[in-house]
Amino acid sequence: MNADRRFAALSERMSAEIAEARLHAEHLRMAEALLFASAEPMTEADLAERLPTGARVGRLVEDIAAYYSGRGVNLVKLAGGWAFRTAGDLSWMMAKDVVEPRKLSRAALETLAIVAYHQPVTRAEIEDIRGVSTSKGTLDTLIEAGWVRLRGRRRAPGRPVTYGTTRSFLDHFGLDAIGDLPGLDELKGSGFFEGRLPTGLAVPLPSDDDALREDEEPLEDGDLFMPLEVEGEDEDEEGEDGAPPSL
């Protein structure tokens, strides 16, 4: 019968197609495994060599790439071959932040202390008090630590940047307000000063108020992206050749 024959033909064709689909699916699994296990990107020739003869490598790769598109891992073309890679938008996950506790250097600690007590203070003033030039790195570290910020610029020749402490400075050191920093008498009383103190040594009244002082003017926008001006040379902090004492 005609219908029977047609049915038989149809059924045969369908069987063949099913068999082919099954084979393709199996080849997909193999290609997927090969691509996963390979240390280097695999070219289509590499794949063809490893897969059973008759595998349609081009279609396999396309199918796998489509299958993985939008997923956490994508099949991408790299160096002429194909390789699985973490999806680009998830690359941030592939890095791990390790918080590494680090002790502040003595130079940084001293600079921070001067900023805290003498703020608003310029770099030249810090250097004047410390008697050595302050490296850019030291102030950078303190800014990075979130304890020191750029306040403004001093209304003075050269308009130097003024530094001050931040709220996070207060948090870290357990201070309620900058005024809670102990004064000279308290420092003496707590034994921080040893021996005789020269007369006339004064500890200023620091201010970390957001409002600028009269002798300060605001920073320009650009200042925030170039936070540390280079004042003269950047000598090593602990270098012997600090600035000569200016009497």
Partner: protein
């Protein structure tokens, strides 16, 4: 006596040579790893279940094996022989009527301990085989060939205490204060100044006068007295040496009298023996 397992005569060049020059025949006991392994193999020939083997028969087979090897003048390792001796002892114990229960374990206990030991070895052999048959990483299954290692970004977290901060500040201020010592400018009457002044005065000192009286004129503050006196004294000594002044002192630490020399000379006389 036929031993099931082949005994290979290993006569390759590893075979040791005996002292009499005759090559020693080394029994490669078919890869047996010691007497226990050999026993296990013999036992397996008896029964599938090691719990039902006859230790007596096993001992006899083992002893027969060793004797056969000796008859063929095969060198057997010492522990094969030790095991043979022990099995011979066990065999005799098993055959003799059991003595009344003493401290020693009975022959039956010894036999079952041996059977247990063989079973343990067999079990671990099977376990090792099963372990080897597992799908093994890098052989049967594979990990990601190109792993994407986790990059580690270290973020420093600075630590400092208020104590550190205050200590640093105080030390800094103190150091700075100490390093900036302002020396008070000392008023010094230099030797040159003293000489000039004395030279100007020499002309007036026609009669003896006390040096101090002169000095007083130049001394404005007590602090200057020492330097004025020292410089003036040095200058007068110099002038006296040049013969332009006469000096006189009546006692130690007494006032110093001076007057112009009677014949002042224009040129200083060179010292005879300077």
């Amino acid at each position: 006596m036929a031993i099931g397992r082949t005994i290979d005569f290993d006569d390759d060049d590893r075979a040791p040579v005996r002292e009499d020059g005759e090559p020693a025949l080394v029994v490669d006991v078919g890869g047996y790893e010691g007497p226990l392994d050999l026993l296990l193999d013999l036992a397996r020939r008896q029964k599938v279940d090691l719990r039902e083997i006859s230790i007596l028969a096993l001992a006899e087979q083992y002893i027969a094996f060793v004797e056969e090897a000796r008859r063929m003048r095969l060198e057997l390792a010492a522990d094969y022989l030790v095991m043979a001796a022990w099995l011979a002892y066990l065999k005799s114990r098993l055959l003799l009527p059991e003595p009344p229960k003493g401290e020693e374990p009975s022959a039956e206990e010894l036999a079952s301990a041996l059977a247990e030991r063989l079973r343990r070895l067999e079990l671990i052999r099977a376990a090792a085989k099963a372990l080897d048959a597992r799908t093994r990483l890098g052989r049967d299954v594979h990990a990601r060939g190109a792993p994407e290692p986790m990059a580690v970004r270290t973020r420093p977290l600075y630590e400092a205490s208020l104590y550190d901060l205050l200590k640093a500040y105080a030390a800094q201020r103190q150091k700075q204060a100490a390093s900036r010592v302002t020396l008070r400018r000392r008023v010094v009457w230099s030797l040159v100044e003293a000489r000039e002044a004395l030279e100007r005065l020499v002309g007036h000192a026609v009669d003896w006068m006390v040096l101090d009286d002169y000095l007083v004129r130049f001394v404005s503050t007590p602090s200057e007295r020492a330097t004025v006196r020292a410089s003036a004294l040095s200058a007068t000594l110099e002038l006296a040496r040049e013969g332009r002044l006469a000096l006189r002192q009546e006692r130690a630490f007494g006032p110093i009298w001076l007057k112009a020399a009677s014949a002042p000379r224009a040129d200083p006389v060179p010292e005879p023996a300077a």
